[in-house]
């Protein structure tokens, strides 16, 4: 029996090479995209995690201030060191400095060499032979090999470290042999760093290695109540979770898109297998008559589906690996998401995920073959042997009228369920209900194809039509299955394409409008995390400066939840009375009671921490818990993990040091060129970045487009697969009617008339598919914009349907459909009429 199955599979592959190859390619594409995304994400996460471990070492717990401007008192470090449960605690100071006048700021880590050997061995320095001196850390800083290469430095070279106005002359004393290739680091003695850059009396964090046998959870619990309000103790494991959470929603979103590509692949297998069953219905009927059981007829089609899926999935794994290598080189390890540094991490395929994606490809192919296999199982043998494929095999159960009602009721239920799902909140911080709603909309679209086809073409069939058009309409009314299959493929692919274009367009329009509000000044200067030099700030305050207005701001980070990335605290020169005019608020701005501190939270912050204007927010600020009134929510597309704006005056009143890192500058009218020249001196001397708002806008939108590059690739893939499906189904439909076309030809229809009839049919099927696909696409686009985006990324925006992209896309797809049917018609009408009619005997 296996031999017979093999003969049939081989025959199917040799007689339907093109359709089979396209189905395999579609499955391969879906697997490849999914696997490539998985490989890149896994590599990027591992790379990021290793980078973090290389700098942080592998402690059991970390004590750090919840406010990045804060510090851990040395007294507390000493107290923890005396704890019998603690094996060792490594105090660390981290700060950012520039080397000479470079624009780029690098990390400077101050370590205690004895404790570092136990906790952060990869940061241990190696003194160069060329540097005379006593012990390690006696003098100078140590640089990672990458930093040495990037700045063209060598041990023994003199360098100036710059932070704000502070300049320190020192030398490169050696390197960090165990640093990773991506690390741009300087390491120095902790006391040396503290003496020059602070903080006095404290450190940035303490990394704790517990004594053997001590459970991290118990130890953290014992210390939790003894810490000052501004400090937090966290298990080092939380850092890995936080790294993963940074890009989790983005990764899940990309994986869902890859699954969509796989789904369209399954659809192509469905179309191929259905047409294969239809074309070979007489052969299968003969085998049934000769004794091939119904179960084996079902298994045969499933086996053929699997025979497409196995090589397709295998090819997909290879393609996915190649794509992952190419993607990491071209758009980086974060696939344009902007979560990690733009490095190209090493891709390491592992057997379990590869097997998983292989199985997924096979499962998609089997799913596509399921309905054709079932149809093959229930074909009435005697009838199929005589007249070929029965499109509507006998079905028991309810009467046709009742069945129509039942189908209508089921579709209404699906629609209600989809609406209900869009109202559900995120599950596990992911828009799972939104994704389910999208799946239901697609099911609804496919389910709508048969009734819409019957209603539209039933009505058309009653009209007086020219002969070719009448043949086309009559054929769809009488034999709707192939038309519905062809339309369904197009519905799914066009709906997905329209939805993606709609979501991206809505997002881009929203970002564009948002940039108008957040970039009010013509010029901006920033110092990338280190304080701006006082010389510049002082000069700006002089009347001679060519600016009519200057706004200064600084940013620090606050840790509100150890499992989540830190929230940005933006300190801005902003009066509470004028906040409404200065931030892009999404709703009403509430006036705070005069005696209360007011802050304004970003939209992602509102959703992540379930906050609302008018509520109180406790912020870990300046070493204590500060209670603030939430005055409003503002739109922020830049910081996905939340941001809080506080007035600079309020921050200073709380005891904070306002050290501006960013400037918004309004040159005096007519003095723009002079303003640029005036700034150039400072930017050159201090390695600052200056940009005009137009440049920032252009760069922001280019980053936006880059981050959606993968989405565009998936859209194109989905649309191509949909059109392949249409072409395959139309060709098979025409092939099945070769006898009918030959008869019409014998009756006097010429080739041109027959070709026109088939083209009309293709156009009408594609038209129905595109109209339903458009409706579904707009619905899915609305779900992506209003449900998935806010729940996954915490961004809200208005729905914008880009008709100028959608309508030409629909017209092109329609033309492609007509072209595919023309090709199919020409193939069928090229056969000698006499031969076709003789074979029909």
């Amino acid at each position: 029996m296996i031999r017979l199955a093999w003969w049939l599979v081989r025959a199917q592959f040799t007689t339907r090479r093109m359709a089979t190859a396209l189905s395999m390619l579609a499955i391969a594409l879906g697997v490849a995209l999914g696997y490539a995304i998985h490989l890149i994400n896994a590599a990027a996460l591992a790379d990021f995690s290793q980078a973090m471990k290389s700098v942080q070492g592998e402690p059991d717990a970390v004590i750090a201030p919840r406010d990045s401007a804060g510090q851990v008192p040395l007294a507390l470090i000493n107290e923890i060191a005396r704890d019998a449960d603690v094996a060792i605690i490594a105090p660390v100071i981290e700060t950012r400095v520039r080397i000479d006048n470079a624009t780029m700021a690098v990390k400077l880590i101050g370590l205690d060499v004895f404790s570092a050997a136990a906790v952060t061995p990869k940061l241990l320095p190696r003194q160069s032979d060329r540097v005379a001196g006593g012990s390690v850390f006696e003098d100078g800083v140590y640089a990672s090999p990458t930093l040495l290469a990037r700045f063209k430095l060598a041990p023994g070279d003199a360098v100036t470290l710059v932070r704000g106005d502070t300049h320190w002359r020192t030398r490169i004393a050696g390197d960090l042999p165990a640093a990773r290739p991506d690390d741009l680091l300087l390491v120095a003695d902790i006391a040396w760093v503290q003496a020059r850059f602070g903080p006095a009396g404290g450190v940035s964090e303490g990394r704790v290695r517990l004594a053997s046998g001590v459970r991290v959870g118990n130890w953290l619990g014992a210390w939790a109540g003894r810490l000052p309000a501004g400090l937090a103790l966290r298990a080092a494991e939380d850092d890995s979770a936080r790294v993963s959470n940074v890009s989790r929603a983005y990764r899940v979103n990309l994986n869902v898109l890859a699954l969509v590509a796989l789904l369209t692949g399954a659809f192509l297998v469905f179309a191929t297998q259905l047409t294969a069953v239809a074309q070979r219905s007489t052969q299968f009927a003969l085998l049934g008559v000769l004794g091939l059981s119904p179960r084996l007829r079902l298994w045969q089609v499933l086996l053929e589906g699997l025979a497409i899926g196995v090589p397709g999935a295998g090819l997909g794994l290879v393609l996915g690996y190649v794509m992952s290598l190419a993607f990491t080189q071209v758009i980086g390890g974060d696939l344009g998401g902007g979560y990690f540094s733009g490095s190209a991490p090493a891709i390491l395929p592992r057997p379990a995920p590869a097997l998983g994606f292989f199985a997924l490809g096979c499962a998609a192919s089997l799913t596509g073959a399921l309905y054709p296999a079932w149809l093959n199982r229930i074909q009435p043998l005697a009838q199929a042997l005589k007249t070929g494929f029965a499109q509507s095999p006998p079905s028991g159960g309810a009467a046709p009228r009742r069945r129509r009602w039942l189908k209508g009721a089921a579709m209404a239920l699906v629609a209600l369920a989809a609406i209900g799902l869009t109202r559900l909140p995120a599950l596990f911080d992911l828009p799972l209900a939104g994704y389910a709603a999208i799946a239901l909309v697609l099911v609804l679209g496919i389910g709508a194809a048969p009734p819409v086809t019957q209603i539209v073409f039933g009505a058309l069939a009653r009209l007086r039509l020219p002969a070719p058009l009448r043949i086309a309409v009559q054929n769809i009314v009488q034999a709707p299955l192939m038309a519905q299959v062809a339309a369904s493929g197009l519905i799914v692919s066009f709906a997905l394409t329209v939805s993606m274009v709609t979501m991206v367009s809505s997002f881009r329009t929203a970002v564009d409008q948002w940039l108008d509000v957040v970039l009010p000044a013509p010029m901006y200067v920033r110092s990338k995390g280190v304080p701006l030099p006082r010389e510049l700030l002082g000069a700006l305050a002089q009347p001679a400066a060519p600016f009519e207005k200057v706004e200064r701001s600084a940013a620090v980070s606050l840790s509100l939840d150890p499992q989540r990335p830190a929230v940005a605290l933006l300190v801005r020169e902003l009066d509470r009375a004028e906040a409404a005019a200065r931030l892009p608020f999404t709703g009403a701005v509430l006036a705070a009671p005069a005696d209360r501190l007011v802050v304004w939270i970003s939209e992602p912050m509102q959703q992540l921490y379930r906050l609302a204007p008018g509520q109180s927010l406790r912020l870990p600020l300046l070493g204590r818990e500060v209670e603030a009134f939430i005055g409003g929510t503002w739109r922020d597309y830049a910081r996905q993990f939340g941001a809080v704006v506080i007035g600079a005056a309020d921050y200073v009143a709380l005891g904070g040091r306002f050290e501006p890192t960013d400037l918004a500058l309004w040159p005096r009218p007519g003095e723009e060129a002079a303003a640029r020249t005036w700034l150039a001196k400072f930017t050159a001397d201090y390695g600052l970045e200056m940009a005009e708002s137009g440049e920032i806008r252009k760069l922001s939108l280019s980053i936006f487009d880059k981050s959606f590059a993968v989405t565009y690739a998936l859209e194109a893939a989905a649309m191509l697969i949909g059109l392949f499906g249409l072409a395959v189904t139309l060709a098979a439909g025409v092939w099945l009617r070769a006898r009918e076309l030959a008869t019409l030809s014998a009756l006097g229809f010429d080739r041109a008339m027959l070709t026109r009839a088939v083209m009309f049919e293709g156009a009408m099927i594609a038209g129905i598919g595109l109209v339903i696909g458009l409706a579904c696409g707009v619905a899915v686009g609305a779900i992506l914009t209003h449900v998935v985006n806010p729940q996954a990324f915490h961004w809200r925006m208005k729905l914008e349907i880009p008709w100028l992209q959608v309508l030409p896309g629909a017209a092109l797809s329609l033309l492609a459909g007509i072209f595919a049917s023309r090709f199919a018609a020409r193939q069928a009408t090229r056969l000698p009429v006499a031969q076709v009619l003789a074979n029909a005997q």
């Binding site: 029996m1 031999r3 017979l4 003969w7 049939l8 025959a11 199917q12 040799t14 007689t15 007489t282 052969q283 003969l286 085998l287 049934g288 008559v289 000769l290 004794g291 091939l292 059981s293 119904p294 179960r295 043998l381 005697a382 042997l385 005997q841």
Partner: protein, 220 residues
């Protein structure tokens, strides 16, 4: 080899039965012709005997074990066809994507005949139907008469107890039809099988051992 008792069949939603109360039998080595006007139900009767259409009443005992195909489930009917029935059709129905030898091997595979026996049986039968050396050829290269010879070889290769033939010479010219009929009768008798041949041809009917005429009133 075939015993039919009180067999009745009515199509769904039809007022009148296609046939009712039919009873007859065909013995091993016997060739029976079934004749009658178009639409009288000859093909339906053949389909019921093969288990391709359900009968409403009566029994059809098929094969050496005399299994009642009316009472069998779908899979068991398929198994009975595979082991005990051979088919010859008017339209040949040779699988175009399998070679001649592979086409003839299909019943052997379905009947579970040991693979080692296949080649010898196929070669012997090809020789007996006048197609020695045709095994590797493809159906598209054969004439109508040659295709029907392949179909006869396929119907006999698994040594079924019953051969059902539906207008086996209907698509052939008179000379080829005579050759094919002679071959079919000779091979059926040689294998001591029973055969029921549906035909419109008086000549075919005269060549058979017995003729049954199906009319709206029943068998005559």
């Amino acid at each position: 080899m075939l015993t039919i008792t009180s067999l009745s069949k009515r199509h769904a939603n039809a007022v009148q039965a296609v046939f009712s109360g039919l009873s007859f039998s065909v013995q091993a080595g016997e060739v029976v012709a079934l004749v009658g006007e178009s639409g009288v139900g000859k093909s339906t009767l053949l389909n019921c005997i093969a288990g391709l259409e359900p009968a409403d009443e009566g029994s059809i005992l098929v094969g050496r074990q005399a299994q009642d195909i009316v009472r069998l489930g779908e899979a068991a009917r398929a198994a009975l066809r595979a082991s005990s029935i051979g088919f010859v059709f008017q339209a040949f129905h040779v699988l175009p994507t399998l070679s001649v030898a592979q086409n003839i091997a299909v019943p052997l595979l379905l009947a579970g005949v040991a693979a080692g026996e296949h080649a010898a049986r196929i070669e012997a039968l090809l020789a007996r139907v006048g197609l020695a050396g045709f095994g590797p050829r493809w159906p598209a290269s054969l004439s109508g008469g040659e295709l029907q010879r392949v179909a006869i070889a396929r119907a006999l290769v698994h040594r079924p107890a019953l051969i059902l033939a539906d207008e086996p010479t209907g698509n052939l010219d008179p000379r080829t039809a005579d050759e094919i009929l002679a071959l079919l009768l000779e091979r059926v008798r040689e294998q001591h099988a029973a055969a029921l041949i549906v035909t419109h041809s008086q000549h075919v009917a005269q060549c058979c051992d017995r003729v049954l005429t199906l009319t709206p009133e029943g068998l005559q």
